[in-house]
């Protein structure tokens, strides 16, 4: 384990309840700077809620979250929201592109409104990012003219436009047709190679194995097991991890 000063993101005993439903039951997780942590586990285990707690779309009920050493929960929550949203980018399962705006405007809008970037600067940045995700020829298209894979790549470009320090990926390939998954994973792989800190909730075990520095297995609101991909995916110690991997790899 790296010393905590090196951690980009640190979760300590995080709990989240929705009414009677106790979704997160004490999550401890550390994400070192520049690393890729893949979170796997069955549906309903709290993986998405975990990500939504990290960027404070759902503030945790208990526990602490530290981003770059600064606590963003509890006392820190008040100005934590802005601190987090400027540093953490998120990509969603359902893309959530703005349908009334072109791909370019999707990538440029928040730059202009949040970072006060001028039109030219935001446009150059948007074009650069669209090129980076391989969609230079689609800048002026509306989202409904793009395939799911293309839409998701625009969504990645849109999040990158805010110069995030950490990127959260919430099952970003789960809504895609199989032949479109690779183009999205390739963009993420490239991002990881460039040194982006990433937390990736995924069912793509191949991606977790190849790209993940660490893998965390979640079930029923807790992290049951974490370690290198080899440790967790090939030699799981926990019975539930074994059963889950058995079911997934059987497919």
């Amino acid at each position: 384990m790296s010393p905590s000063g090196e951690a980009m993101l640190e979760l300590q005993g995080v709990h989240k309840r929705f009414g009677e439903l106790h979704v997160l039951r004490g999550i401890d997780l550390e994400v070192p700077r520049g690393s890729v942590v893949c979170v796997i586990g069955p549906s309903g285990s709290g993986k998405s809620t975990l990500l939504r707690c990290v960027n404070l779309l759902e503030p945790p009920d208990e526990g602490r979250i530290l981003l770059e050493g600064k606590e963003i929960t509890g006392e820190g929550l008040r100005d934590g929201v802005n601190f987090v949203r400027r540093r953490v980018g998120m990509v969603f399962q359902e893309f959530n592109l703005f349908p009334h705006r072109t791909a370019h405007d999707n990538v440029a809008l928040a730059q202009q409104k949040v970072l006060d970037r001028g039109g030219t600067e935001a446009r150059d940045k948007a074009r650069g990012l669209m090129e980076r995700v391989g969609l230079a020829d689609k800048v002026d298209e509306y989202p409904d003219r793009l395939s799911g894979g293309q839409q998701q790549r625009v969504a990645i470009a849109r999040a990158l436009a805010m110069d995030p320090h950490v990127m959260l990926f919430d099952e970003v390939t789960s809504a895609l047709d199989p032949e479109l998954i690779k183009e999205v994973l390739d963009v993420m792989r490239q991002l990881a190679e460039e040194g982006m800190t990433m937390v990736v909730v995924t069912h793509e075990m191949g991606f977790a194995r190849d790209v993940g520095d660490r893998v965390a297995f979640m079930d029923d609101g807790i992290v049951l097991e974490q370690g290198t991909p080899r440790e967790v995916l090939d030699e799981p110690k926990n019975e539930r991890t074994k059963r889950f991997l058995g079911l997934v790899l059987e497919r």
Partner: protein
């Protein structure tokens, strides 16, 4: 039979009294357009206030809900009497609770009953239209707001640039329907002394014992409302076609 035709379709009388009826109709148009535009704006303000987030703003939301409940629940006729009665009484020389220029408004060369009508229409139809906007805002998927917030946009920015533009597009047809209803309700302003098209028709009727001016007024109404109704139909079928295309295209 001849009597009926003579009583309602005396084209000579329609021609002779055309100026009087059209003068009344001009008031109907002015009330409709100004009242309609103000209702559209006021309704949007109410709808956006109703969506303000957080516990601290619950009183604002409560006030807006109470306002909408009250003015959707009482007749426009009553609002007209209350507004005109209250404003003129409170600005009477013996009272002087509000300045005379506001109590008996004669702005832009229009009479006080005209402005009482505008105020009452805006109060009442603002409440109706707020409900239409609300339906539109709530129909925008949650993910849109979340995506905007995750990019660092404030609640207000997210509403202004992402949610409201999408909501307004979907509710244009029902808003136009409300506008048609508003236009017909402008005839109620005659009860506080404004000679709009219906009152003009009644004046002619009582003078000549002939209802043809009323029929002329009806025809003038239809000349506006039928094209509007067709426009609503076209917008709706266009929306349905777009929706079906969106459903048909693969994710």
């Amino acid at each position: 039979m001849d009597f009926i035709i003579e009583y309602y379709f005396d084209f000579g009388l329609m021609f002779d009294e055309f100026d009087r009826v059209i003068d009344g109709f001009w008031f109907t148009i002015k009330l409709s357009v100004l009242g309609g535009v103000l209702s559209l704006l006021w309704g949007l303000v109410l709808a956006v206030l109703r969506q303000l987030p957080g516990r601290a703003l619950a009183p604002v939301r409560g006030l807006v809900i109470a306002y909408i409940d009250v003015f959707r629940g009482i007749p426009l006729l009553l609002v007209l009497f209350i507004v005109s009665g209250a404003l003129s009484a409170f600005s009477a020389p013996s009272q002087q609770i509000i300045p005379r220029e506001i109590g008996i408004p004669e702005w832009f060369g229009q009479s006080a009953p005209f402005w009482y009508g505008i105020i009452s229409l805006t109060i009442t139809y603002g409440a109706y239209m707020a409900e239409v906007y609300r339906a539109g805002i709530e129909a925008v998927p949650r993910g849109q707001m979340e995506a905007a917030r995750s990019l660092g946009m404030s609640h207000g920015q997210s509403m202004r640039h992402v949610v409201v533009p999408q909501a307004v597009r979907t509710v244009i047809p029902p808003l136009l329907n409300d506008f048609i209803a508003l236009m017909k309700d402008t005839s109620l302003v005659s009860v506080i002394g404004l000679i709009e098209v219906v009152q003009a028709g009644r004046d002619v009727q009582s003078e000549f014992f002939n209802g043809s001016a009323l029929v002329l007024g009806a025809l003038l109404f239809l000349a506006v409302t039928i094209p509007l109704a067709r426009l609503v139909d076209r917008l709706i079928s266009g929306q349905q076609a777009r929706f079906q295309r969106a459903q048909a295209s693969p994710a």
